[in-house]
């Protein structure tokens, strides 16, 4: 039981990094990035490729984050020009392009076969309890660090301007500030963070395939953010936890309700996630932790 809870906690911690990144982008800046999974994939594959070729773990993390940040820069230039709903569609498309590129560049990525045997972090600890515990501790520390950085950003002059951009971009321009610069920087920070999450993910699951880089991941992160409360840093953590409980909790239902077939259960799980998303967007758009309704 403990190891299973640990596994869930580790996944929650990894995805919380993504939710925090999205919260910076959408919650604080109003950037509708629906291409999160693309940056996540860049991180996961950078780590997978480099570490299976004998490079150190740190190299994978660094290369993934650097690549994602560089990839985000031209997207920032596009972001400057698009309305939020169009930007959502465009970034969604870009993440699909990343996936297709991973599938196609077989020499580098092994295509659809995926890359198995990615070393786990802290594998020197043979213990089945201590290794995941240490990993979780590192992840929690990483999340704490990110939360602190986000707070610092949110309460700084920079945070004021991105909040202003979220509320009214034209007016920011009218005051002599260039929204594009801020948006680009936010996208780059978010991309780097997503890539770091991707690297952790690759090392934890130990096996990456293009099937793991689908827009479904992006949607789940959006759900987590909505559940927790848009624009609230504490909400990002809570929302991810809640989403994971919603998805994982369904696993226990067949043990409790043996009369429901597992096929039906799998469909019901998707149904419940969809229903939660609808109910939250309609009745509680500010999320669990939100105080102010965002429209």
């Amino acid at each position: 039981m403990e190891a299973y809870l640990l596994a869930i906690a580790i996944f929650v911690a990894i995805f919380t990094l993504l939710t925090l990144g999205l919260n910076l982008q959408y919650g604080l800046t109003g950037l509708t990035n629906f291409g999160l999974v693309g940056f996540f994939g860049i991180g996961a594959y950078a780590s997978a490729i480099l570490t299976t070729h004998g490079y150190p773990v740190v190299a994978g993390f660094a290369a993934g984050a650097a690549l994602a940040v560089i990839a985000a820069w031209p997207i920032g230039l596009v972001a400057l020009r698009l309305r939020d709903d169009y930007f959502a569609i465009a970034t969604l498309g870009l993440s699909e392009v990343v996936r297709v590129a991973i599938i196609s560049e077989k020499e580098l990525t092994a295509g659809v076969q995926g890359i198995p045997g990615i070393p786990r972090l802290f594998a020197v600890l043979e213990s089945r309890t201590w290794q995941p515990l240490l990993l979780l501790a590192v992840l929690v520390a990483a999340n704490l660090g990110v939360v602190l950085v986000m707070r610092r950003i949110a309460r700084s002059p920079f945070g004021r301007v991105i909040g202003a951009i979220r509320d009214n971009e034209e007016a920011v321009r009218a005051l002599g500030k260039d929204p594009a610069r801020f948006k680009t920087q936010v996208l780059m920070v978010g991309a780097g963070l997503s890539a770091v999450a991707g690297s952790f993910y690759a090392h934890y699951v130990g096996y990456v395939t293009p099937d793991q880089i689908t827009p479904l991941v992006t949607f789940q992160i959006w759900m987590a953010m909505i559940l927790g409360g848009t624009g609230r840093i504490s909400g990002a953590v809570l929302g991810t936890l809640l989403l994971m409980l919603l998805i994982e909790g369904a696993r226990f239902l067949p043990d409790l309700l043996p009369f429901v077939s597992s096929t039906a259960m799998a469909e019901l799980r998707v149904f419940v996630v969809g229903l939660a998303l609808v109910l939250f967007t309609v009745y509680r758009p500010q999320g669990l932790m939100g105080e102010v309704a965002r429209r």
Partner: protein
């Protein structure tokens, strides 16, 4: 700092929204612009501040052409506008609205934010004091902590004015500052504008409230169907038969 508008033309299809418009807002001037609905006033503002590109004509500030610059650059050079429908940063408090407008803050770059925390803190303290003064001047101090989206229309107009002032603007374009504002507050806003003008800040004001506007400005221009049909001291302009015909003709 004088603003010269010269032969601006902007057309949508066959309709010329502004048609060969030229006039000047002298340094420290207080100029009004009137015209019936659809005369092209707000379009002219957008052309002057760079939100729209004209088909022909040019805008310059103290003799330096602004034609190749965007709205942000024009604002940095001291030419700042407000909007007809207030564009307050609705989730930010009034204080943050004003603080966000100040130029050249080190804390607006991520690098300085994390590498020079001391400098950022000192700047913030100084800025905060300036904003307190500004809020006192605009009588916004009692709503300092209120999200700007919750303010009344007149208060939002004041926040926009305050933001424009915080940028250090030398010439401010006010788009209908009295629209939807109660009479007491209109006088309040007028008084602030006069006071600021006395300190050397130039204003170009679009307004429907003719009475209030003509009491405020020293020069008045009249726009009708994209063309400038009159200009001069308010009393003279309002007496002009062409203006009465075009603008005051049938209606009020």
């Amino acid at each position: 700092m004088s603003l010269e508008i010269s032969r601006l033309v902007k057309a949508y299809g066959p309709i010329r929204v502004t048609d060969d418009v030229s006039f000047t807002v002298p340094a420290g001037g207080l100029v009004g612009l009137i015209g019936p609905n659809g005369a092209g006033k707000s379009t002219l503002f957008s052309l002057v501040t760079g939100f729209l590109a004209p088909d022909s004509g040019s805008v310059s500030l103290d003799g330096r052409s602004l034609d190749r610059t965007g709205p942000a650059e024009r604002a940095r050079r001291g030419l700042v506008r407000t909007f007809q429908v207030p564009r307050e940063f609705s989730h930010l408090t009034v204080r943050d609205n004003l603080m966000a407008a100040a130029p050249g803050q080190a804390g607006e770059t991520l690098g300085a934010l994390f590498l020079l925390p001391g400098r950022v803190r000192r700047e913030e303290e100084a800025l905060r004091r300036r904003v307190e003064e500004m809020m006192a001047f605009l009588k916004l101090d009692r709503v300092a902590e209120v999200p700007a989206g919750n303010l009344s229309g007149g208060q939002k107009k004041l926040v926009e004015l305050g933001r424009a002032l915080m940028t250090g603007a030398r010439t401010i374009l006010l788009d209908e500052p009295f629209a939807g504002v109660n009479p007491v507050l209109i006088e309040e806003i007028s008084a602030r504008v006069r006071e600021l003008n006395a300190r050397g800040i130039g204003f170009l004001v679009i307004e429907h409230d003719l009475a209030a506007l003509s009491r405020l400005v020293t020069t008045l221009h009249v726009l009708d169907r994209g063309r400038l049909i009159a200009g001069g001291p308010p009393a003279a302009v309002l007496a002009d038969p062409a203006v009465r015909d075009a603008y005051l003709g049938g209606a009020s």
